[in-house]
């Protein structure tokens, strides 16, 4: 811990899913806000343990699906009944029955794009993040379970947080320092 490096947070490793679920509840109760649980797969019950709210993604996708349907039907209406009217097999210009498949497809297309890119946006992913400065974080995508508390947190204090992790039973703890 040299002094001229900026401390960005603390990361602690826990033994298994049961331990980390337990520890997450304690971190939540201690009142931390800028923290996260890193695991190789989603741990059941972690949202409750962390006190997380439901993801708003469902509403975003519902809105996108509605937009897709409106755009799909509107496009076909405008192209077939407004911009260049063509009589084809004597059918109505606006044959909404026949326009259903394309309308549906565009609703789906807008939804899937929103589901994926909305998820990526909500995740606030970035290539440089304090947790990547850890020496053992690579194992979080393999078989290790971590809790990180970032320095932005109001309750964060390097020594006290380090001590806190030891008290709640981590197997390993380290400071996250900018390299």
């Amino acid at each position: 811990m040299s002094d001229n490096k900026i401390i960005q947070g603390v990361i602690a490793e826990f033994k298994d899913p049961a331990d980390i679920l337990h520890a997450a509840g304690k971190v939540r109760d201690a009142g931390f806000k800028e923290w996260d649980v890193h695991s190789p797969f989603p741990v059941h019950g972690m949202d409750d343990a962390m006190g997380e709210k439901r993801s708003p993604l469902g509403w975003m996708v519902a809105f996108a699906a509605f937009t897709g349907v409106v755009v799909g039907l509107g496009m076909q209406w405008w192209m077939s009944a407004v911009d260049y009217k063509l009589v084809i097999a004597g059918k109505a210009f606006f044959s909404y029955q026949a326009f259903f498949p394309v309308t549906f497809a565009l609703g789906v297309l807008f939804s899937v794009i929103t589901a994926v890119f909305g998820m990526l946006g909500l995740n606030k992913l970035r290539f440089h993040h304090p947790v990547f400065h850890s020496n053992s974080f690579e194992r979080s995508t393999d078989d290790a379970f971590f809790i990180s508390i970032l320095a932005e947190d109001k309750k964060f204090d390097p020594n006290k947080t380090l001590q806190f992790f030891k008290e709640i039973g981590c197997v390993n703890v380290e400071l996250l320092e900018e390299k």
């Binding site: 997450a24 695991s39 797969f41 019950g45 997380e52 439901r54 498949p101």
Partner: protein, 472 residues
């Protein structure tokens, strides 16, 4: 979407999903080792397969070039059979893709945990198959350079495409299907790509997988959105996969050709698509187990048996559709419809019809016997029969064209060598893409397999006091 131990317990799993009770690290190493081999240590079977399929894929390009240069006369199409192998191959490849989406979406919604070991490469298979399918509508328009007429783009005549045409529905359905499948596949792969990033030794791999994994850090604040996104994708893809092949079937069903103009087509096509797709997943899974022995603990004989059962069910649905078509042809009292079906079974294409019935209806009945469902060479042989049978099904349907209302215009369709090499070439393209996938990307969804292991459950530990059970 909070999943508690209580509601995951609803699925009764008496058969272990993975053999040998591996821990999380073993799953990582088993799967990562497959693609972490340096280029110089690429196994010989891979190079042989890659070179052969690569050559066949090149051959597809040559055939397309020849077609574009000479015109559709190089194909066997004639009047009345204006749709030849191109449409047969299109339906064949789109159909194969459907199993991947079924495994990733529908089985996910039904909480079928055994899907986790096969979903990744079934999804990859979907993407490769849909790419192959996409080639055919593009080239069967004849004048390839005006294929953009199929899209709603303002062209020099400022005319818009006809949205009442099922061929245009196809463009939107298959285009959406490809986009959705590719995004679903990629979303599922992000955590595994992060594993690759974290294990990478070389700078190049670190950067490439670092970019591909988008800075994934496995935080629960990400998993939360990720799981919802995955559920939504599964929920959206389920009606999508059912609609895509329904739309494909309307290419036929909205026409007035006897044998095509039936309402049974959409469900019949969807069942057939799943049937053929599972056969292809089976073929590829058995080959993958052979050349990558590490997969044998994950794609267990139980997984294969479950797939065989799905094939049996969908095979019988297809068989039922064949008999319903015949019954309705008779019951309708329509002479053209009756003739079309009698002609299918006993006319000049009788051999195609009976190949189809044997491969799709009769041979899969062997799956009733448990011992055969669990014998790998038998499964492999039966999956090949299904692949053949389902190609013939589409051929039989398309050949309804050869004898329609006016006997003076009847004709016999024969494919040319260009047709044949185009079809073989599409297999080359399919296998080339698939081989690249199994060489460089995670062939199995590691994070998902880890997540369904008993030890992934926070309540798994034996030494935990029983009072702990209800918590969380």
């Amino acid at each position: 979407m909070s999943v508690t131990a209580e509601n995951t317990g609803l699925v009764i799993e008496d058969i272990p999903l993975v053999k040998g009770d591996p821990d999380f690290h073993k799953i990582t190493t088993d799967i990562c080792r497959i693609s972490e081999k340096p280029i110089t240590k690429t196994p010989r079977w891979w190079w042989i397969a890659f070179i052969i399929s690569g050559m066949l894929a090149m051959n597809l390009l040559i055939m397309i070039g020849y077609l574009a240069w000479e015109g559709v006369g190089v194909w066997g199409v004639n009047i009345p059979v204006g749709w030849g192998w191109a449409i047969v191959n299109f339906v064949f490849w789109v159909g194969i893709g459907h199993a991947g989406t079924l495994i990733s979406a529908i089985l996910f919604l039904f909480r079928q945990k055994w899907r986790t070991s096969i979903n990744r490469f079934a999804e990859a298979m979907t993407i490769c198959a849909v790419i192959c399918a996409g080639v055919f509508p593009g080239i069967h328009v004849g004048r390839i350079w005006v294929a953009y007429f199929m899209f709603p783009v303002p062209n020099q005549m400022s005319i818009w495409p006809n949205f009442r045409s099922p061929l245009l529905w196809d463009i939107f359905a298959v285009g959406t299907y490809f986009t959705a499948s590719a995004l679903f596949w990629y979303t599922g792969m992000i955590p595994d790509l992060a594993t690759y990033r974290d294990r990478a030794k070389s700078k190049i791999k670190k950067v490439v997988f670092g970019i591909l994994s988008l800075g994934w850090r496995g935080g629960n604040r990400q998993w939360k959105h990720y799981e919802v996104a995955y559920l939504l994708l599964a929920g959206i893809s389920t009606p999508l996969v059912l609609s895509v092949h329904s739309v494909v079937s309307t290419d036929f069903a909205t026409s007035i050709v006897p044998g095509w103009h039936t309402t049974i087509f959409p469900p019949y096509f969807v069942a057939g698509a799943i049937f053929s797709g599972f056969a292809m997943v089976m073929t590829l899974a058995i080959l993958a187990r052979k050349v990558l022995p590490a997969l044998q603990n994950y794609i267990t004989i139980d997984t294969l048996e479950r797939m065989a059962k799905i094939m049996m069910v969908t095979g019988m649905m297809v068989g039922y559709a064949y008999s319903t078509e015949f019954f309705i042809a008779w019951y309708s009292g329509n002479m053209y419809e009756r003739f079309a079906f009698i002609n299918r079974a006993f006319g000049p294409y009788w051999w195609a019809y009976w190949t189809m019935v044997s491969c799709n209806v009769i041979i899969p009945q062997l799956f009733w016997i448990r011992k055969l469902r669990r014998t790998i060479p038998v499964l492999f042989a039966l999956s090949i029969f299904t692949n053949i049978g389902m190609w013939f099904e589409r051929f039989v349907i398309v050949m309804s064209l050869h004898a329609d209302y006016l006997p003076s215009s009847w004709d016999y369709y024969k494919p040319t060598w260009v047709d044949a090499w185009t079809f073989i070439g599409s297999f080359g393209l399919f296998l080339t893409l698939f081989l690249l996938f199994i060489r460089f990307l995670p062939v199995m969804a590691m994070s998902e397999v880890k997540g369904v292991l008993p030890r992934a459950n926070p309540h798994f530990h034996h030494n935990m006091p029983p009072a702990h059970k209800g918590e969380a």
